[in-house]
């Protein structure tokens, strides 16, 4: 059917959205209790995680099934695309909040603290810092693992594009190989990141509490790492679907949505590399 198709697919009633909201409620409640030293919170969180996992399988599963049954046409496909694009826009603003924080701290609050000789005479407001009352630490150097990780993520952007070409030209091996390579690179990245964190905590004195340098470093790279993880899980799902033969050159939003996300994560990393590690 074509664009002039009259009907827009409005799905039947579904239990998943409300279940997901319920799961998130229990998760939030458990977390709030847990951080306030009420150990029951842990069990809430575990139960919620199981529920949320179930919902994600069920919800995405039913959307995929509908797509395979041919319910979604060009019109619906466009909704998914716009939806994903605006979702990524909101993610951009989420990271913008943390980058804005970094710039504010580096350029405004730390220099101003340095000028104020009242409370801690001798504190020089230079970056990196753990603040007037912080412990000494070693800042993270850019040209070791971080540079390698930059290379890894950039290559993964290439490999996912290569997989996309394979999809468009219906070269199955290229699609599957490209995706598998991308996931492998993503995992390698995460592995290095984990090593770097471990090193920072155990040997460099660099942790969340290491003043504003530690705080911005771990929040920015941590949320980025979380997004890489989510992207890698998405890629794995897409790989599974590719193996099942779900994608055709003119119907593969699932692939593209994840690929866009992956590129977004990549761009965030470049910003991180420049502003957190390098400069």
């Amino acid at each position: 059917m074509s664009e002039t198709e009259q009907g827009y697919y409005v799905p039947d009633s579904s239990p998943y959205p409300a279940l997901l909201a319920g799961g998130m409620f229990v998760l939030a409640l458990g977390f709030a209790l847990q951080i306030n030293d009420e150990p029951v919170g842990r069990w809430f969180m575990i139960a919620a995680a199981a529920l949320i996992g179930y919902v994600l399988f069920g919800w995405f599963g039913s959307v995929i099934a509908e797509n395979q049954a041919g319910r979604f046409l060009r019109w619906e496909d466009r909704s998914f695309r716009w939806g994903m694009a605006w979702f990524i826009a909101s993610e951009v603003m989420f990271f913008a909040a943390f980058f804005g924080t970094l710039f504010y701290l580096r350029n405004i609050s730390v220099p101003e603290l340095g000028e104020t000789q009242l409370i801690w005479p001798g504190y020089r407001g230079t970056w990196p810092t753990s603040g007037p009352a912080g412990q000494p630490f070693t800042p993270m150097a850019a040209w070791g693992i971080p540079a390698l990780n930059t290379l890894i993520l950039l290559s993964s952007a290439v490999s996912v594009t290569w997989a996309h070409w394979g999809l468009l030209k219906q070269r199955r091996a290229q699609l599957i190989g490209g995706l598998a390579l991308t996931i492998a690179l993503g995992c390698l990245f995460l592995g290095f990141q984990a090593y770097e964190y471990h090193h920072a905590y155990t040997e460099m004195g660099l942790n969340l509490g290491a003043g504003v340098y530690g705080a911005t470093f771990f929040m920015l790279t941590g949320f980025h790492g979380l997004h890489v993880t989510i992207g890698a899980i998405g890629l794995a799902a897409v790989l599974g679907r590719a193996i099942k033969g779900h994608f055709t050159p003119d119907n593969h939003f699932g692939f593209e949505g994840v690929a866009w996300y992956w590129h977004f994560v990549d761009v965030v990393w470049l910003m991180l590399f420049v502003f957190v590690y390098w400069m």
């Binding site: 009907g7 827009y8 697919y9 409005v10 799905p11 039947d12 009633s13 579904s14 959205p17 409300a18 997901l20 909201a21 319920g22 998130m24 409620f25 939030a28 409640l29 709030a32 951080i35 306030n36 049954a69 041919g70 319910r71 466009r78 909704s79 716009w82 939806g83 605006w86 979702f87 826009a89 909101s90 993610e91 603003m93 989420f94 913008a96 909040a97 804005g100 924080t101 504010y104 701290l105 405004i108 609050s109 730390v110 603290l113 407001g125 753990s130 603040g131 007037p132 009352a133 912080g134 942790n207 969340l208 509490g209 003043g211 504003v212 530690g214 705080a215 911005t216 771990f218 929040m219």
Partner: protein, 531 residues
């Protein structure tokens, strides 16, 4: 494709009944209804809280509660009213009316739509739960910092603050998902011929609202996340000992907070011209000008936040910048006012309840805007800041501009939704009582504010006693008047004279071509919009 598939494409299975219908629905009208009902309930919850506060403030001295509880009630009142009464009401209208107005069969992403709604009750539960937990000896009650979460107070506050942070996260996800849905619906599901410059102004208002939400809610999410890590995970974002800065929190909060005030008002500014044109029996004046004004205000909204923190300490250059940029917003806003007045100018006006509320909104919101201009003056703000003058100002904008505008919308569209006309007489009573009691409540607050009474205090100096007593009396009348609103709404849902498709004689637009109430699924086949 098989025939079975085709049938499914057009007519979904009969929906489940009872509670399951509402839990699982993907229908924009069902979801819109849930938003509106939720909003109404929370409006009364938030109202009850603030009546306790006004009772405490009836006289100087401490009467009925500890300052801790007083602070909690104020903050939770604000969060409830903004995030759980005003915003869901506007979203409920969006769900109901946008598909009808642009000729769409539903919202573009119906399941996402259901999720957006069902995140709200959990958020409300999280926000309010600490009150109950405190009764059982867990924690010290709800968030006690006011709705602005300022550090360092918020870093030291009890566990209620964590609950509020998590509630904000759920609310934020709900808003962002709802906004994405609206943007996608408007971009993708307009009927053939419904070009952007033919979109009803309500849809335009919501489109810009959705853009603003997508831009600023994630920043709030980031800010409260940093607050959470400062509280529990040892970071120093807002703590000078580690090189951080409490004022950073204020910047982040108001980068969200100022656009937020437009977020709750744009839907109202969008629906007002519909009502004015219907009851003046004249086309909307200056359609294009209003659309452009929306854009200008939307863009300016994200660059003026500093006017909320002019007394926190900033350079003279920054002060001047925030002062002039804030004042410049009144230019596009005056364009809107001008268009509203020109729309009713020499019209054949009648004054049914929706029109009364719309006109009342314009006058009272006008006062809110003018006092905002006063506050934006960096030199004067040093005196007015954190005084009751600010409280009066933002209630003229949020209650008169927001809630009264929403009520105009309710009376305007309820007959379309239920198929019954409203009880005009009761509704008119509701309007006049609301308008008078509102002014009785908030006008005195300008004066006590100018005379130096600070906001967020449970006790005050003797010389403010009379004005505060007036204000408290007004508040209780205002609260009682809202019971009338409840009665009108419930009566209209349960019965009343049948409403025709075109409920109001002068109303124009696609939504008035479908029966009242519209069938569960409208526009299964796309209408074509002509000239």
């Amino acid at each position: 494709m098989t025939t079975a598939d085709l049938a499914l494409h057009g007519s979904p299975h009969a929906p489940p009944r009872g509670l399951m219908r509402w839990l699982t629905t993907t229908n924009h009208k069902d979801i819109g209804t849930m938003y509106l009902v939720f909003s109404l309930v929370m409006f009364f919850v938030g109202g009850a809280m603030i009546l306790l506060v006004r009772a405490e403030l009836f006289q100087p001295g401490m009467q009925m509660m500890q300052p801790e509880l007083f602070n909690q009630l104020i903050g939770v009142h604000a969060l409830v009213m903004i995030f759980m009464a005003l915003m869901p009401a506007a979203t409920g209208f969006a769900n109901w009316m946008i598909p009808l107005m642009i000729g769409a069969p539903d919202m573009a992403l119906p399941r996402l739509n259901n999720w957006s709604f069902w995140l709200l009750p959990p958020a409300a539960a999280l926000l309010l739960m600490p009150f109950a937990l405190a009764l059982f000896g867990v924690g010290s009650g709800a968030i006690a910092t006011g709705w602005t979460f300022y550090a360092p107070l918020s870093v030291q506050d009890g566990m209620g603050l964590d609950f509020a942070i998590l509630a904000i996260h759920l609310l934020g996800i709900s808003s962002v998902m709802g906004s994405i849905n609206i943007v996608v619906t408007v971009f993708n599901l307009r009927a053939p011929g419904m070009t952007f410059m033919k979109l009803p102004l309500f849809v335009w208002g919501w489109l810009i609202t959705a853009f603003m939400l997508i831009a600023v809610i994630p920043v709030l999410a980031g800010a409260v996340t940093m607050l959470l890590t400062d509280r529990h995970f040892g970071t120093h974002f807002f703590n000078a000992a580690g090189g951080g800065d409490p004022i950073l929190f204020q910047h982040l909060f108001w980068f969200f907070g100022h656009p937020e005030v437009y977020i709750v008002l744009f839907p109202v500014w969008g629906l007002t011209p519909h009502i004015l044109s219907a009851f003046a029996r004249k086309p909307v004046y200056g359609y294009r000008a209003q659309v452009y004004a929306f854009w200008v205000i939307g863009i300016l909204s994200v660059i003026v936040w500093g006017h909320h923190i002019m007394t926190s300490g900033m350079s003279t250059g920054a002060l001047l910048y925030f002062m002039y940029s804030t004042m410049s917003i009144s230019l596009p806003l005056s364009v809107l006012f001008f268009c509203w007045i020109a729309t009713i100018w020499r019209g054949a006006m009648t004054f049914e309840a929706p029109m009364l509320f719309a006109l009342g909104m314009i006058v009272l919101f006008g006062i809110g805007g003018l006092t905002g201009l006063v506050l934006a003056d960096a030199a004067a703000d040093a005196q007015y800041h954190h005084s009751y003058f600010v409280v009066a100002h933002f209630h003229y904008t949020l209650f008169a501009g927001g809630i009264m505008g929403i009520m105009a919308g309710v009376y305007f569209w309820l007959p379309k939704m239920t198929g019954h006309m409203i009880d005009e007489i009761l509704a008119k009573w509701h309007f006049w009582l609301t308008a008078i009691a509102f002014n009785l409540t908030f006008l005195p607050q300008f004066f006590v504010g100018l005379a130096g009474m600070p906001r967020r205090v449970p006790d005050y100096a003797l010389q403010f006693a009379e004005f505060n007593m007036l204000s408290s009396i007004g508040a209780f009348v205002l609260g009682a008047a809202q019971l009338l609103f409840l009665i009108v709404v419930v009566k209209c849902i349960r019965g009343g004279p049948p409403a025709p498709a075109k409920v109001w004689e002068g109303a124009e637009g696609l939504e008035w071509t479908v029966p009242s109430p519209p069938p569960h699924h409208t526009f299964q086949t796309r209408p074509v919009i002509g000239e």
